[in-house]
């Protein structure tokens, strides 16, 4: 329990509480808008965090993630349009409940299940992360290189069924990471003699371009979403009998959300659908699923909220972002000169504790705000799409300029947005690119440092036991995914 009290007591300033509440409000509103995923809601806020204290900025971004998962369930239940991908499973029974006049009950179940899930995920995050980071502290440069390779091999699992496309995306990310001065000799690389590129391309620009601008370029061709009816929605929290009935699907959601959350690349959507399927399998009333079962709302909502915390385990302990939202949070760390990973616990433990405490308050804030924010959400969802899109784009463009008062950076974000659009068109996954971008420097600098130590002998990567284990794990992971992709293709044909 001490760790929890430490976490809660580590939120000493009013600003962190304000950040938790503001983040949740922004997250719920963003999540409620179809097309604005948690990562986009976070990316829109990234530029605003530049001038903030690091802990406030990180808590704000993490709270957006928490709020967006609940926000996504609002249009899923009311208008059969999931606000976020991970709310897709909630549509199945949530919308059916709404059709039966139980929209308020479904929203209440979503809110409470999300709260339980979020708090459970936080407990897992607090207990698992530091132990994992402590192990990673003993790493040599060779082990760090191999950790980077392991991180890159995760690409296989993030590639949506095509490892080759994942490898190409990761290479693009690595190429972007190499722009700027060489970390050893300082000579400029891939700068095209532009002074603006000497310092490299800032990850935040790539993330805003890839997530926010690309999404706007895609959304412009999408049809307008349906309107929500305000009178249908009056939030109703589950009573004692209903709470007892929901305990099992919520527990199933919590366990699945934990496993999927700590697995890089799995994410909230897979967790939500798996939780739905398992809750149906273990239910006393499986025939009700798909026809408005409260359990069918509770399980996925618990699962996707567990993921908001457990997806941060690989990020905080090893510095590897396993999801889009974790990648944006990583961007928030980098803006403030902080590198997530084992050293974070040594160099800035107060940030980690503030994040834990902030996540705790964000979950409480989600409950309090969730009770009153329904009307503003419905108002927002019902705004005409042209004006909403225009304001969001103006906010993105202004936010990018505000970071460093650079028009060049706005152009860079647009160029990255075009790259993201092309990748979406060719079905090249984005997350491997982000992984390549953030791991590029770690892999290259530790590779070269290791060779300096070993006088150019590559055997250092196999004689270091930790490095060897990590490389073997990377090989197994790559081979397994390659084999699975091959056998899936064979089965399909």
């Amino acid at each position: 329990m001490d760790v929890f009290f430490n976490a809660v007591l580590s939120v000493p300033t009013l600003w962190l509480l304000v950040a938790a509440f503001a983040g949740v409000i922004w997250g719920i509103l963003g999540g409620a808008l179809p097309g604005i995923s948690p990562s986009i809601a976070m990316a829109l806020l990234l530029p605003f965090t530049v001038g903030m204290a690091p802990a406030t900025a990180i808590v704000l971004l993490a709270s957006v993630y928490v709020g967006a998962e609940y926000g996504g369930s609002i249009p899923a239940i009311l208008i059969r349009t999931p606000g976020t991908n991970s709310a897709s499973a909630t549509v199945l029974d949530g919308y059916e409940m709404a059709r039966q006049g139980k929209a308020g009950e479904a929203l209440g179940i979503s809110l409470i299940s999300g709260l339980y899930g979020g708090l459970f995920g936080l407990a897992v995050l607090v207990l698992a992360t530091e132990s994992l980071a402590r192990i990673a502290l003993a790493f040599t440069p060779a082990a760090y290189f191999s950790l980077g390779i392991l991180g890159l091999s995760v690409i296989a699992g993030l590639s949506g069924g095509s490892m080759l496309r994942g490898v190409i995306a990761a290479c693009i990310g690595l190429m972007l990471a190499f722009v700027g001065s060489d970390p050893v000799s300082g000579v400029p690389r891939f700068t095209f003699e532009s002074a603006d590129l000497l310092g490299g391309i800032k990850p935040i620009l790539i993330m805003v371009g890839l997530f926010a601008v690309t999404e706007m370029l895609v959304q412009i061709g999408e049809p307008a979403w349906a309107k929500a009816v305000k009178s249908e929605a009056r939030l109703k929290l589950p009573n004692w009998a209903m709470s007892k009935r929901l305990a099992k699907p919520q527990a199933i959601g919590a366990v699945i959300g934990t496993v999927e959350g700590v697995t890089p690349g799995a994410g909230g959507t897979i967790a939500a659908f798996m939780a739905y399927s398992e809750a149906k399998r273990w239910s006393k009333n499986p025939e009700e699923f798909g026809k408005g079962s409260p359990e069918g709302v509770a399980a996925p909502e618990a699962a996707n909220n567990v993921v908001t915390a457990t997806a941060l385990v690989p990020l905080l302990s090893l510095g590897i972002p396993g999801s889009n939202s974790a990648a944006i949070l990583l961007g928030g760390f980098l803006i403030h000169g902080l590198q997530p990973g084992p050293m974070l616990f040594q160099k800035a433990p107060e940030i980690v504790w503030s994040l834990y405490g902030g996540l705790f308050f964000a979950n409480i804030a989600m409950l309090l705000i969730g009770l009153v924010i329904l009307s503003p959400c419905i108002w927002l969802v019902n705004r005409p799409k042209p004006y909403l899109m225009a304001i969001i784009l103006a906010l993105v463009m202004t936010g990018v300029y505000a970071m460093h008062q650079s028009i060049f950076e706005i152009g860079m974000v647009l160029a990255i947005g075009v790259l993201g659009y092309g990748m979406r068109l060719l079905k090249i996954p984005v997350l491997p690119l982000v992984l390549g971008l953030v791991l590029g420097s770690l892999v290259e600098s530790n590779y070269r440092r290791s060779l300096l130590i070993s006088s150019g002998e590559h055997s250092i990567f196999f004689t270091d036991p930790v490095s060897l284990v990590l490389l073997l794990l990377a090989a197994v992971l790559t081979l397994y995914t390659g084999w699975k992709e091959f056998s899936d293709r064979k089965a399909a044909s």
Partner: protein
């Protein structure tokens, strides 16, 4: 675009990009502090890896039977979406060009108006109101509240300031 076409285009683009990248990397000259690997070593390896993956993707596309081409999106709908995305990109590029000349408030008001109209808004009065209110709100937030210096444009010089 079906999966086979997608693989082919990705493969060809990947080969072109990686070949150019490796060629550019080879031209990087090492400084006095260079190590054994050199500034071009790791980037060249990454370029070659991308080339290999692109070639493999091309081979995979060629090995697929012509009968199984995967799902095909309705062409007209897809092209209409791409055209809109291109127009939006044009509006955003125009914003980047206009910003240093017209200043922040005017540029962002024009951006909001143009994007609203492009996405389907038709009521000129509402578009104008949204542009003015949106630009003023964002200006108040960034310039007055967050104290960030936004581009003034050429207005001061035009007004003899």
């Amino acid at each position: 675009m079906n999966a086979q076409q997608g693989d082919r285009i990705t493969g060809v683009l990947g080969i072109l990009v990686s070949a150019s990248y490796v060629a550019y990397a080879r031209r990087i000259e090492d400084g006095l502090l260079a190590d054994e690997v050199g500034a071009a070593g790791v980037p060249s390896a990454v370029g070659l890896l991308m080339m290999l993956a692109s070639v493999a993707l091309l081979l995979k596309a060629s090995s697929r039977s012509a009968g199984r081409v995967g799902e095909v999106a309705p062409e007209n709908t897809a092209w209409a979406s791409h055209r809109l995305a291109l127009y939006l990109l044009g509006v955003l590029a125009a914003y980047v060009l206009v910003l240093p000349v017209a200043g922040y408030w005017v540029s962002v008001a024009l951006l909001i108006g143009a994007v609203s109209a492009l996405v389907g808004a038709r009521d000129v009065k509402v578009i104008a109101a949204c542009s003015v209110l949106g630009a003023s709100g964002l200006y108040a937030l960034f310039s007055l509240l967050l104290n960030i210096r936004m581009p003034a444009g050429l207005w001061p010089s035009w007004m003899g300031a």
